[in-house]
Structure formats: structure tokens, C-alpha cells
Amino acid sequence: MKQWVVLCLLCMLGVTTASADDAQFVTPLKPGSVLRGHFTQERSLQGFQAPLKSEGSFVVAEGKGVIWKVERPFATTTVITPAGLVQNAQGTETLRLPASRIPFIAKLYDMLSGTMTGELSGLKQQFDVKTAGTAGDWSLQLTPKSDQTESSDPQNMPIRQLDIAGGQYVTSVDIQRQNGDRDLLTFTDQAIDAAALSADEQALLTGAKSE
């Protein structure tokens, strides 16, 4: 669960990589503006015959939330707002998590799937951050600090390495886990759209709030 928070923030070109040094590469989104783009996600899971590929589009509305639309292999829409997370598949709601339950669920996912633990602001306490490139073409490499990997239990730090690259926008996020699983996200066709959200998008974002 923390993962989507991380991605969410990264997508928002957040300064959330925890350091002002790293933030020089990225321009924060202005309030009220909307970032649109296309993504592909490739999940390489240990013991699976082929990577699980999905692709679709996303909308980041600063201050309102994120809409993540998987178009292939089948349509799934995930809407994340401050009120929580709602997932729809083929017109049926498949998951609804109010924000109030997210701390527990976040912990649950830490246990279940072992994403990163600890506060986002504490990233640097857990990771060594290497930066490279220029403002137009930069990359960040996050590796767990040595005392984290020496920890007897890999559950506590399931991430082996995190690579983030981008120019004006984040273009790719590569998450490698201790157990060999790997998620690769690439973002393309990104543009800041000054126009307001469409009525459908607006409805999705507000619909996620009401319960």
C-alpha cells in the first residue's frame, strides 16, 4: 500500500524524495493544474512464466487525487483521493478502502507483500540516495543502507533497489525486491493540462470521497 503512496507522490513530481538536493530536478505541480500521461507496468514475479503487463493512462489532479486507468489486459480504474482508495473493474466496485483504515492496511501490506516501511520523510534514513545527470535528464538510485540489509529479516526491508529516472517529468520507476520480484513502470506522453478535469474525471474523484 505504501507503494501506491510513493508512486502517487512521485507522479506528482513531488519533492518527496525527501531531499532538497534531489528536488532541484523536478518542478512541483502547481495547485489546480492537471498532469496526464500514459503508463506501462511490468511486474516480473518469481515463479511466474511471464511478466504481468498492464498499460493505461493516469491523471494527477493536484490537491484532488490520482486516477489510474488500466486499459489492458482489462479495464480497471483506481481512484486515490485523500478520502481513500476505490477500485473499479468493468463497472463494478472491487475495492474500497477509506483513508481511515489505510494506516492499518498499509502495515498489513508491509507484512503481506513487504513494501517499504517507515515514513516517507525517513527515506534517507533507510536508503542511500545516489543522484546523477542534469535537470533535463536525471536519475535517482535508492539502495537500502547497509544496516537495513543486514537485518535478519528481509520482510523489514523488502526493497533491494529503487531506480527513478526523468527529465521534466518522472519517466520510469524500477522497484526491485529482495525476493526477486520486480516492478517496472514507465511513463510517456506526459503533459500538464491547464484545462479543468472532464466531467467524468470529476465524478470519479468526488465519487471516491462519498461513502
Binding site: W4, S54, Q87, F104, K107, L108, M111, T115, N179
Partner: protein, 782 residues
Amino acid sequence: MRRLLAAGWLIVLILLAVHLVWRVMTGVNFSTDFLALLPREADTPLMERINKDVTDHFARRMVLLVGDRDPAKARAAAREIGDRLDQSNLLTVTSNAYGGERLKQLGALYFPYRRNLLSDQDRNLLLAGRGEDVARNALAQIYGFAAVADSRLIASDPFLLLQSYLTHLPVPLSRLSLQDGFLTTQDNGVTWILLGGTIKGAPFALDFQKQLFAVLDPAIAQLQQQSPDLQVRRLGAVFFAAAGSQIALQETSTLGTLSTIGSALLLLLVFRRLAPLWQNLLVIGIGAGAALSLSMLLFEQLHVAVLLFGVSLIGIAVDYGMYYYSCLFDPALSDPRQRLRSISAGIGLGYITTVLGYAVLILAPFPGLRQVAIFSLIGLSAAFISVVLWFPILDRNAPLRHGHMLLQAATVPWDFWERPLWRRWRYGLITGFALIGLVGLWRLQADDDVRHLQSLSGDILQQQADIQRIIGTVNSNQFMLVQGDNDEEALQREEALAPILAQQIKDHNLTGYQTVAAFLPSTKRQRENRALISEKLEQPYLAQQRQQLGLPAQSADQDAPADDALSLQQALSADPANQPLPFLRELVLSPGLHLVPLDGLNDPAALRAAVAGIPGVHVIDPTGDYTALFGKYRHRAIWLIGLSIALMMVVLIWRYGWQGAVRVKAPSVTAIIGATACIGLLGQGFTFFHVMALILVQSIGVDYAVFCAECAHDKRPITMLGIWLSALCTILSFGLLAFSQVTAVHAFGLTMLVGIVFAFLLAPLAGGAKVKRRLGSAGPAC
């Protein structure tokens, strides 16, 4: 003879004083639990015991929220406060926190049984034969944005059933997460840390409250000096009780002081002498002291409310002395014995009727009110005896000559009722009051809700509201008990309850609940789930699902699911220090008896009706039970008023005959009706405490009427002056209670205030009653 009696009385009082001093020296223990003033009732002794145990347990819970904008400071403060509480040994810190360790244990407990566990959503889909939806939901999550399940998990549970079950577990305090070992949440930029525990003492015991606050308050104050931003919110019966007893004790001293100073000033101004003042104070002191001393002998533990009423006792005890000293203004009575004789019939009858009025309170089946009744009777009797035996000895005064104006002024009410000049005004006033009174009576509404009686300061309610907002729940004292022959039956009954409770939440009659079965389905339910998963999900869709995900046809052996059912014993027998479900221990009271705490229940009756079909389920609503009791006893108290009127009428008819008795009783009865109408006009809910005050109004009202009836025509000014002084003193003590913040005390005081004014103004109407029979040797007064 008289001197001998007076000396004997002195010895009795000295003994009582010695006892009192000894008790104070050895430590007085006052109870402050207002609900302890009420009797507890329940269906069966077993249920009563459980009810009491659970209620006591709930009452011992305590929550502190420590907040600061700086998370590090919040953690430091929480650590400091937690350490000090820990060292104080006043509190057992409980933690239902879900950190890494406990979650791992939770996973370890459930994982082997993943084919027995279904979330409600998945179960309902499978029951409806929509297995493909379950499969599709899992795929949506695996491919979707919140793609968090890792390869091992997906391989062993391709439908993500366990993930779904865990996600929907109603874990308490799920809004908080564990950070650096503290249950933490953020609200408006403030980091809040929860410290919870069970106090080791009784929440209503004053000395325990003192000990707790002696640790807590300095710790918080010190930390706030270091970080002015630091905030602490408190919740728990102990804080409510402390606020209540603080108000009560504070008021006892402020209202008591005001009443004493007011009465003293009044006496000094009227008599221009110290003797009436100090002798009356002496009488009051004797009354209160004797009452306290004897009550401590009679009762194990005195309630702080009894003390509060003890203050009020002053108002009545002073009546006799006041009436006696008003005789100083009579030039015809130069000798103390003459003075006593002139009032003995009045105060004698007054004493008897008041005793009857108070004695009726003993019939009220409330332990605290019995204490109050007996406390008052003792104090009243001691004061009465002191006046009769000592005043003639202590009184060295010659008749006073400065009272012309006072006496004239005192007779105004009497004149008002008798002078033809006021005839029109009288009828106008009576009609007006009658009309307003009718409106008041018409508007009168009973209100027995015990919650309205808790006069909680806005501050403590605000703290409760804050905590509710931040952590999403507050401890409520409502719960259900689910009984079965064994745990399995109890679990099955809870499973039968679940849809009903879900409907209650939908209907906004409930905000939440906890059952053991939500964490540990019955064996029967686990078998059903296993069959459902096998028939409706795995047989039709497993191969397809694995193919879609690109999984090999067989899963690894190491994660093979268990064949048997997960049992409650398994969950409970885990190492107590590392319980994956620590709160289950609190929910399982004994084998087959489970607790179901309820959150935000609005209408217990509706819930009771809804669950009536399931055997072994009891809805327990202590607050509601007390409300019902208050209603019951309000009715009973109204009957007690009728009873005391009847008892008094027997005495009055004996003395004055039928007609005279009606004349003497009419003013106090009118006062009761007038005060009741006034409560209605003010829009206050008519409570048990109003009714209790009415009982006193009529006792005192009868006193005044009797003084008037016993009084010869030429002594009227003297008598009226005595009644004036009595009424003023009564208002100064009882009437002041109307300013109390304790709702019950306020209700009592207000009723007294209005009732006494009416009783005083109407008392001269009794003047027309003729004495038919005499009291022993005492002649008709004056």
C-alpha cells in the same frame, strides 16, 4: 431537670465530636460515584455480576492522546508520560498496536487457514454463485495500481482471499499506525500518540484520582514548559469522575461559604447582636457535626453528594433558632423560658412534620438518598434538641427595641392576604399566576435521561469529541453478551448476529461493534467457507486464473493450506506477550460467554427487538438501565409526596380539624404546584431531583404554615419575622444550589428556590386555622 438534660445532651455531643475527630484523623473515605447512589438491577445474579464486572472494566479504561506539531517532540512527550505512569504503578498499559511483529504473527496465525477464511464481500459473491467476480477482483488488484501482493502470496492464494479477509478485519484503532513503537496518527498537521491503559484503582475513589493526577499533571505541565505546542487529551471514567467530584467539592466550599456568610450578615443586621449569630452557628455546627459523626457510624462509606446536601441542612436547622430569636422583639417575653414556651408548639409541630417529610425519603430505594434522609434527620434532631435544651440557658438577652420597622415590614405578606384594600390585587395576582401556572404545567415534560444529569464541563466533553475525531472511536459502556453452551455455539450466534448488526449500522442505529467471530469464524463457518471456495471458486476458475497469471499448474508444497479449522484456543493460547489478537482475551469472558462491545448505539430498544430472535444474546445498556430506573423512581417519589401529605394531614387534622388542616396544608401544596409549573415554564426536563426537592418544599412549607396557624393575632409580626428569617436563610443555602453546575443539584436548588418563595408568601393563609387539640402542656402559642 432541664439543666440535667442539657448537661446530658452536652455529653452526648462530646462523644459524637470525639468520634468525628477520630474518624477524620484515621482518614475519611468519601465516594463520588453518582451512579452508586442508585441500586443496581439485572435479570439474574449471574448477569448482574457479569454486567458489573464488564462495566467496572470499562470504567477503568483510560486514554491519553499526546499531540505536537513536531513528531519527535510528541514521541518524547509520550515516552516521558508513559514512563512516569508506568513507574507510578497506577496503570497497566495496554497496547493493541499493530506493528511489524504482531502483524507477522497475525499472518502466521491465519496463513495456513486461508482456505477457511472469507471476507464478507467474497463470501457473499460466492454464495451468489459469482466466483468469476472474485477471480476478476483479484486480477484487477494484481494488475492494478495497488499491486502489492508479491509472487509468493499470489502463487499460494491466486484469488487473494486472505488479503481480502485481512483488509476487511475490523481491527480496533485501525486509524492509528505504529511508528517508533507508538500508536500514531496525524490530524491537521499535529502528530498524535495514543497512550492507553487500565487503571489499577477505582475511578471514583478520590484518593486514587489524587494519586493519578499527582503523576499526570506535573508531567504534562513540565513537558508543556519545554514545548508550549504540546497538547494532551484525556478520556476515561476516571477523568469524568474527577471533574465531577472536583465541581462537587469546590461547590461545597464556595456555596457553603456564601450561604454561611449570607446567613451571618442577615442575623447581624436584624438583631444587631452577636449572640443570635453564634448560637445559631453553634446549632448548625452541632446539626452538621452530629449528622456526619453518626452517619459515619451507620454507613460504611458516605457519598460526596450527601455532604453537599449536608450544606443545605444548615438552612433548615437554622429555622428553630431563628424562630426563637425573633421572640426577642416581643417586649412581653422577657424571660428565656417564656420565649421557648411561646414557640414550642410551633417548632414542635414544625419539627414533627419535617421529620415526616424527611422520613419518607428513607422509603426511596436509593442507597444514597437514604443516607441523605438519615443524615438530615440526625442533623435536624440534634439542632432541634440543642435549641430546646440550650437556648433558654444561653439566652441572656433583654427584649430588643429596634425592631419596629422590621416587624412592620415582616407583616406585609400577611396584610396582603387580609386587608380589603388589596382585594382586587389579590384576585388579579391569583388569576395571573394560575394562568401562567397552567401554561407551565402544560409545558412540563419529564426527562429521566441519566446522561443529561452528568454535568460535564464543556472542556471534558470537547476532549472526548477531539479523541473521537482523531482516533475514530470512544469507549462506550454499551455492550452485548453472547452466551452459548461452548465457544463454538457462541461464535455461531455471533455469526447470526453479524447481518443484523450490519443492518443496524446501515440504519444509523450503531456505528460499530466487535465480535470474536469476526476474527475467528466458528468451525462450522470455516467448513462452509472451505466448501464454498472449493465448489464455487477453485473447481470452476482456478485453472483459468493460474493460466491468466502465467503460474505453473501446481503450487509449491511449502505453502500447503491446513486441513483442520482454526480454533479459538489456538488464537488465545499463543504467548500472551505476543498475541496476534490481544483484544480477544477481553472479549472471551469465559468459555461460551463472549462480550460484544458496541459503539455509538442510539436506540437500544430497537437493537434488542432486532436481535430478539437469536437465543443467548443480551443487550446491556447501563446508561439506559439507569435512565429507566430514574423514571421508575421519579414516579415513586411523586407517590412519596402524596404519602407524606397524607401523613402530615393526620397530624394536622388531629390538631386543627378538617378545615383547619386544609388551610394549613394548602400553602405548601400550592408551593409544590407553583414550583412544578415554574420548571415547566423554564423548559427544564422534570427529573427525579426536582421531585425530591418538592418533598422538602412541602416539609418546610408546612413549617411556615404551622408557625402562622399557631400564632395569636397580636404575635403575628413576630412570627412573620421568624418566617422571613427562616425563608431567607433557606434560600441562602438551598436556593444557592440553583447555581450549581451539577445538573441534579441545580434542579434541586431551583425547585427549592421557587418553592420556598411560594411557601413563604402563602404561609399567612394558614393563619385562619383554629387549634382544636393541644400539644401536651404547651398552650397555643404566643
